[in-house]
Each structure stands twice: as C-alpha cells, then as structure tokens.
C-alpha cells in the first residue's frame, strides 16, 4: 500500500510538505497520488519568484492518463523548482518523496495541514 512518512505534513489534495530549517516549505506529491496518476510524463513547475496564494494551482503533473493540478499549501513566494524532476518526470513515480516539485517561502506559518495519521485516514475514506 501507500507509503506515508511520519516526518512530513500533507494536504487533502495529496501534496506532501516538509518544513526546512530555514523556514521554507518543500512540496511534492504523495506516494498515493503518484500511484493513482500512473506513469508521469511531464511536469509544469512554477517560476522562481512567483507569488502564490494558499490553494492556488501553481504546478501541473501530466501522467499518460490525465493532467492534475498541484496546489500551493500556503501563500508565499516560490524560491525554487526542481529542474531535475522536470527533466525526468518518471522519478516522481520511482520515489515521490525524493522528487520534490517546488519550494515556497511562506508569508506565515501554513494552517490546516494533516499529519501522517490524518492523511492516512483521509485517503482511506476516499
């Protein structure tokens, strides 16, 4: 079944979030999400410097099957995008927690994130 590391936070829309030592947030998609998407063939990642609102669609994952939006977990500024993942989208299938998508410098601490148990319950209900 799905791998849900306990040191990460999650959203109901299947992003994972890691709070870095400098206060920025690294964002990717969960293992559950990559399984549901199937073979991933293209990533459209946000430009560095872009301002995003909480819940704003700011990246797109295209699998063979469909296109899916990735949402910003909080308002802030994009400070990095993972070009290596964009060049090799299949790495998101191989390890969804290593292939991060973007980093965001939050305006304030994000609210409403799920812990691993909360996310596990969320996907069990789906």
């Amino acid at each position: 079944m799905s791998n849900i590391p306990t040191d990460l936070k999650y959203t109901k829309s299947h992003e994972w979030i890691r709070v870095e030592a400098d206060g920025t947030l690294t964002v990717g998609v969960s293992d559950h999400a990559q399984q549901a998407l199937g073979d991933i063939v293209f990533l459209e990642l946000p430009e560095t410097g872009r301002r995003v609102d909480a819940g704003e669609a700011c990246a797109v994952i295209e699998s063979v099957k469909a296109a899916s939006d990735i949402y910003a977990p909080c308002a802030g500024e994009i400070v990095a995008s993972n070009q290596e993942a964009a060049d090799a989208p299949e790495t998101v299938n191989a390890d969804a927690y290593a292939a991060w998508l973007f980093r965001i410098k939050p305006d304030s601490a994000p609210a409403g994130l799920l812990d691993a148990a909360g996310y596990e319950a969320e996907i069990a209900d789906a």
Binding site: G38, D39, V41, F42, E62, V64, A67, N93
Partner: protein
C-alpha cells in the same frame, strides 16, 4: 459505486497479476498492471495480451444475412468473398452519424460474426433487431455473451501464442492478416487494435482462464486498457465515443475509407445523408512540438480556422505527445497549428495518420526523445 460493475471471467487473473482496476463502460477492467508505458513497449517490441471480453460477439446467420449486412453497414460485406475474411465498418444512423464501429468476420456462406464495443453493445443489439424486423430480413441474431475475448498483440505475439495454444499449431491454425479461422470452439482472428501483428481469440468463458495462464507462461505480458489506448492512438485507430459518435459522420472522423459507395445499386442506412453532406472537416494526426500533453477536446487554431483534438496522450514509442485533430476542411498534413493548453498557446504540427505501424515510426519527430 451506484451499481456493481460487470466482471469478465478473467478478473481473478487480473488481480493475481497486480492489476489496477477501473470502471470502463460499466465493466470492472484492468487499466494497468504497474506501468502502462512498459506494457505499451512490450506490445511494440515483443508480445502483450489484453482482456477484451467486455466487447460483445454477435452471430448473424441465415440466407438473408449477406443482403441484410449490406444494408446495415456502411462498408460492403460483399468484399468478403471467401469465408474467414474480416472487414472493419461503421454502422450508421439515418442522419449518417456513427451508431458503432465494428469488425465483421464471414464465417461461412451465410454466417457472420460481429464484434461490437462494450459501451454500445445493448444499443447495437436493439438497433440490429429493429432493422431485421423492419427490413423483414431472413436472418437471426444471436448474442454470444458466453464468449470471452483475448487480444494477443506484438511482433512475437503469434510465435509465443503458438507455444501456449495447441489449436494454433494445426493446419490453418494461424489465419492470414485480416482473416479468421474457426477451430473447435475457438474463433482465431488475425486482427487487433494496436498497429502490430497478432491475434484476437474468442474462447468460451470456461476455457479462458487456462488460456490466459498458458499465454502468461509463454511470456506474453498482461496489458491494460491504458496501454491499449496509447497503442491505438499511435496506430491511428479511432475510439468510439471519443473520435466519433452518433453525431459525427465517418467522413469527418477519418473513416471515409470505410464507407463503400462503389456499388451504386446498394443502399445502406445513412447513405443518403452522407451523399447529401460530404466531409465538413479534415481529420489529421497532431504532434505537439512544445512541452506538455495533448488531451481530447483541446481547442486548435489553424490557418483556415478553429478545430479541436478528439483524442490525445503521451505516445511512448515516439517520446512525444500526439493526438487526433478535427480541423477546417482544406487543412493538410505538415501545417503548423496552435493548441490552447490551460490558456497558453502551444505549437503543434499536423501529420498524416498513422504515427506508428508494425513497430516503425512513420512521422518525423523533431524534438529530442525524452528517454
């Protein structure tokens, strides 16, 4: 789920092979067994098999069967001079729209097998029965839901299948391309939906699990509906309900070659409408030159006006995104068009279909391959 999905007799085999199951036209079907791209490559390079038991086999027999089918179908079964030959055809409504697309096999002088889509099967049976009655045709229709169907496809499909299915090793066990052979309780057809050589075998449900397992042991890889879709897209083969339906003329869906107007004496359902209204659109392949993935129903901007994609996906054999495009009449292969993708205009190029046939890429791919 509102209603339990229908299951094919191979469901246990799919689950044992690690299938991810999805609802398709009311059927619980495998979409992939892990990686749809790996399954796609298995069919282009070696051999893969698909459970297509959701499709329905129909038998038409009787002295009036030939005349009836000549009136029911837009293609002309009179081409099937020898028993065993197969023909692809659309079944049209009076307005010239496509009720379904199907394969018809001539089994003997007065016996035909039709294989129709799962999502349209009930509608098709009602449609055919209504026309038998209305035309007073001397033919009977029998639905063969007890038959399962396995498609074995790829350059090594026949070789591997011969190691798994004893009937294939008898005289005439492997029919010539676009033909079928009846051997005991099997109908073995040299047809498919992938652009590769291979077989489609109709087999009684009670035997199908053993056949699947023998094919598996012979090295044929299980492939899901996901790979089936990218394979048919590369092969330039239409998908009913997506590239054409009851409101689309075959002449606007790249299927003019299946409409046979040569016998001026022959009337068929929808003929008058097609003659009165020739093609309104060009139907072409599309290759995306910018990064992204084409999907169905994206808006297109060509020199002669607007159009839309009817299908689109990532094409594993090409390492690029491709689609089918319905464009203004006069648009030809080799033109630049723009695609609206999430509000941005991306560059694409029209090409002649198909993109791939028998493992060979038939179109120019300018951009470097992804892998």
């Amino acid at each position: 789920m509102n209603h339990p999905a229908r299951r094919t007799p191979l469901r246990a085999c799919h689950l044992a092979a690690g299938a991810r199951m999805v609802d398709f036209a009311g059927w619980d079907m495998p979409v992939n067994y892990g990686s749809q791209i790996d399954e796609h490559h298995a069919v282009r390079r070696d051999a893969g098999m698909f459970d297509v038991s959701h499709m329905l086999s129909l038998d038409l027999s009787g002295v009036g069967a030939t005349d009836f089918l000549r009136r029911l179908l837009a293609n002309d079964v009179a081409k099937l001079k020898a028993p065993g030959k197969a023909l692809y055809s659309c079944m049209l409504n009076e307005a010239g729209g496509v009720v379904d697309d199907l394969i018809v096999y001539r089994l003997s002088e007065a016996e035909y097998r039709l294989v129709v889509n799962a999502g349209t099967a009930d509608k098709d049976v009602a449609w055919i029965r209504r026309h038998i009655a209305a035309m007073g045709a001397n033919t009977t229709l029998e639905s063969r839901r007890e038959l399962a169907l396995i498609a074995i496809q790829g350059p090594r499909a026949i070789e591997r299948a011969m190691g798994a299915i004893p009937e294939l090793n008898t005289a005439n066990g492997v029919p010539p391309p676009f033909s079928a052979a009846r051997l005991a309780d099997l109908l073995i057809a040299r047809t498919g939906y992938t652009g590769e050589d291979g077989l489609e075998i109709a087999v009684p449900a009670v035997r199908v699990e053993a056949m699947w397992n023998a094919l598996l042991a012979a090295g044929v890889r299980p492939c899901g509906l996901g790979a089936r879709d990218t394979l048919r897209l590369e092969a330039g083969l239409n998908l009913y309900g997506q590239d054409m339906d009851e409101h689309v003329s075959p002449l606007d869906a790249g299927l003019a070659w299946t409409v046979d107007l040569r016998d001026g004496e022959r009337d068929f359902v929808g003929k008058a409408a097609l003659v009165a209204k020739p093609a309104q659109h060009a139907f072409l392949g599309l290759i995306l030159e910018d990064k992204g993935v084409l999907r169905a129903h994206m808006k297109l901007f060509a020199a002669a006006g607007e159009g839309e994609t009817t299908s689109g996906s990532f094409a594993p054999t090409l390492g690029a995104s491709i689609g089918f495009a319905r464009l203004p009449l006069g648009t030809t292969a080799g033109e630049r068009v723009e695609v609206d993708m999430r509000g941005r205009r991306l560059a694409a190029r029209t090409v002649k279909l198909p993109f791939v046939r028998n493992g060979q890429v038939l179109v120019d791919i300018d951009r470097p391959q992804a892998s």
